[in-house]
């Protein structure tokens, strides 16, 4: 196990930020921590990194207890903070070189690693730029380069794509995949379910400081009873017809609002055909209709009763 967290409890005065939080991250995987804002993702990361005091629990990294003085552990960890954490007074090259130099003393090796990191985040043309001259996306890339230049075995990324344009986001996600392929274990926190689905081998869904579900994305989706979500544009659905629809054996839940009918069907049933038949038999006029497989948001919704972005 690369990271093992047992029964972690962290309070901010009256607020229980982590409630007996558990986590196990295996070597070589991309592990996603998915949860809404304020769910405890960053708090758990800061506790793992020994940046934050916690009230109870145990944290092990690389099989050893983590502490502020655990320099032999720290040398193999790379951190990419949620907010850009660089020096405004240093250029792109100097920033990466400084942070890399805190891990790598050998000048020649460091130089090579810094060049590699600059190449990796595609900041070659901006190496002499100061951070304030960089766009948001470029800043994020610099932030990542500062965290990974020393080639850590464990990389922790805390929502690195917040406020980033789609193109930069894709570049970042591709980069993280590449780092993982090069052998790094990655812990990735996000509140974007699409990112977690696209990137992570295993995902822990957390809410109110607790792990509410854990597994691969397929395993997580398998945990819920919803099989399919069908959205239909309907113009003349009377309440009686809606009630009748809800009684269909394939339907788990049906909601009608502003001419949009959303039907969540039960797993393993041929819902779409049944709903089409119902519409025709009741002479209900409809426009667009489409079907979606369940997402992690549905998993979160079913488990917690609220949306990920609430």
């Amino acid at each position: 196990m690369i990271v093992k967290v047992n029964n972690l409890v962290k309070r901010y005065n009256e607020l229980l930020a982590l409630d007996h939080f558990n986590l196990e991250v295996k070597k070589g995987e991309i592990f996603g921590l998915l949860g809404p804002n304020g769910s405890g993702k960053s708090t758990s990361i800061n506790c793992i990194l020994s940046l934050l005091k916690y009230d109870k629990g145990e944290i092990q990294v690389f099989g050893k207890p983590m502490s502020p003085d655990a320099y032999d552990i720290k040398k193999d960890i790379g951190v990419v903070m949620q907010e850009v954490a660089v020096f405004e007074e240093l250029t792109v090259y100097e920033n990466i070189n400084y942070f890399c130099g805190l891990y790598i003393e050998d000048k020649d090796r460091r130089k090579a690693l810094v060049e590699e990191a600059i190449e990796f985040v595609a900041l070659k043309d901006f190496r002499k730029f100061y951070p304030k001259k960089l766009s948001g996306g470029l800043l994020r890339r610099l932030n990542i380069a500062c965290g990974i230049a020393h080639k850590p075995k464990l990389i922790i990324l805390d929502e690195p794509t917040v406020a980033v344009d789609p193109q930069s986001r894709n570049n970042i996600l591709t980069g993280i995949k590449k780092l993982n392929e090069q052998g790094a274990t990655v812990i990735y926190t996000t509140h974007y379910m699409e990112e977690a689905e696209q990137l992570c081998d295993r995902i822990a869904i957390i809410d109110k400081g607790k792990t509410v579900a854990l597994g691969t994305k397929e395993e997580l989706k398998g945990m819920i009873k919803i099989g399919e979500k069908i959205t239909v544009e309907v113009f003349n659905l009377v309440p009686e017809a809606l009630e009748e629809l809800r009684k269909l054996p394939t339907v788990d839940k049906a909601e009608y609002r502003e001419n949009i009918l959303v039907v969540r069907s039960k797993k393993g049933k041929d819902s779409l055909v049944k709903i089409l038949e119902f519409m025709n038999s009741h002479d209900i006029k409809f426009g667009k209709m489409y079907s979606e497989l369940p997402t992690l948001n549905d998993v979160f919704l079913e488990i917690t009763g609220k949306e990920l972005r609430d």
Binding site: L52, P68, D72, K74, M81, F87, F99, G101
Partner: protein
């Protein structure tokens, strides 16, 4: 590792425009303003020849000795005492009435002085005339009692002023009341080194900045980060003080005497005290950077005002009423150290100030380190 952190910290400090403004540019601007303001004070201390008139009557024209004496003390040059005009009595009265002269002299044949009011200039004229009369009587007495005495020898001796006390000026500096303001300014510049100390802690305290949180994740002991950063700050601060002293000495022509090595030592220790105060404020006060800067400026200004930056007398009032405060106020210690160098011929008090500043710096740094060492944060 030392070189890597040390030189990067120097870059960070030198390139921080706000920091350089407060720790270097602001004291230079203030020094320039002081110089402009105090130019008149210094001018007021320079002796200006006194405007007088001599009534040009028959007695004056016939008194060769008095005429020569008046001519001698009215000639342009170092010893010029009077701006003398010759006038008739009516004209002299008119000049006096219109305040064009401080007084006028007329002979009848005794030497008489006419003034309108009493004051420094009038006292100087009277003292001069009394001295002249006394010397004249002495010469007359001697020549009367001993006609063979050489008159030239007596006159020569008259110009010899034998001093029975002598001035000791270890610094070689000329007295200047505005100096105490410049001393306080140097003290302020030293204390503004606190900005550098504040920045150093902000950059290694994880709950103060995100970059510091990242630095905290590196496998480098916090003591090392702290020590290397402080050394970089000390170097920059000392360089800034050198620039300020150079500006004061060579551009503004402020005379600090000839005790340069001692002034530099005091500035170095004063700078260290300033930096350590900044680190302590940054570590102790768990508020935003803006609040910390505000507190640092307030502390520095209070410290300097107690040392006499705004009113020179404050320093002496504090020394008299609250001597302990004078002993722990870094600005007072720096100001007093410079003052001591300038006016005294012993170094006891100077080294006492240096020693107290050193001890204070060590205490402030220890407090800072005890607060920041091995710290995990309640919130980030």
């Amino acid at each position: 590792m030392f070189g890597h952190i040390f030189f990067t910290r120097i870059k960070c400090l030198v390139r921080d425009k706000q920091l350089i403004f407060w720790s270097l540019i602001f004291p230079i601007i203030l020094a320039t303003l002081f110089k402009l303001t105090f130019a008149n004070i210094s001018n007021g201390e320079v002796f200006k020849p006194i405007d007088i008139a001599v009534v040009s009557n028959q007695f004056y024209e016939n008194d060769h000795g008095f005429r020569e004496t008046m001519k001698h003390v009215s000639e342009d040059g170092h010893g010029k005492l009077f701006n003398m005009v010759k006038a008739d009595e009516v004209k002299a009265d008119e000049l006096l009435k219109n305040n064009k002269i401080s007084g006028y002299i007329y002979l009848n044949p005794e030497v008489n002085l006419v003034v309108k009011s009493s004051g420094l200039n009038q006292s100087i004229i009277k003292t001069f005339l009394d001295n002249y009369k006394e010397s004249k009587n002495n010469i007359l007495s001697i020549t009367k009692a001993n006609p063979s005495a050489g008159i030239e020898g007596i006159l020569k001796d008259l110009h010899v002023n034998r001093e029975y006390t002598y001035e000791v000026a270890p610094s070689g500096g000329a007295p200047n009341t505005s100096l105490s303001y410049f001393y306080s300014l140097i003290a302020l510049a030293c204390l503004y080194g606190g900005f550098l100390g504040l920045k150093e802690i902000t950059d290694i305290q994880a709950d103060l900045s995100k970059r510091a949180a990242r630095v905290n994740m590196a496998p480098v002991h916090k003591m090392k980060m702290f020590a290397y950063g402080i050394l970089a700050a000390l170097l920059i601060q000392f360089a800034e003080i050198l620039i300020l002293l150079g500006y004061l000495s060579f551009v503004l022509r402020v005379d600090f005497g000839n005790q340069l090595p001692y002034i530099l030592l005091l500035s170095f220790v004063g700078g260290a005290a300033g930096i350590s105060i900044g680190t302590m404020i940054s570590a102790c006060i768990r508020k935003g950077e803006g609040i910390k800067i505000g507190i640092l400026i307030t502390v520095s200004l209070i410290s300097c005002s107690l040392a006499g930056m705004y009113y020179a007398g404050t320093k002496y009032i504090i020394e008299k009423k609250a001597p302990f405060l004078a002993y722990i106020n870094p600005a007072t210690l720096i100001t007093d150290g410079l003052y001591t160098l300038y006016y005294y011929n012993t170094y006891e008090r100077y080294f006492l100030n240096v020693a107290i500043l050193t001890v204070l710096s060590i205490i402030f740094c220890l407090i800072t380190y005890l607060i920041i060492r091995r710290q995990k944060y309640a919130s980030l």
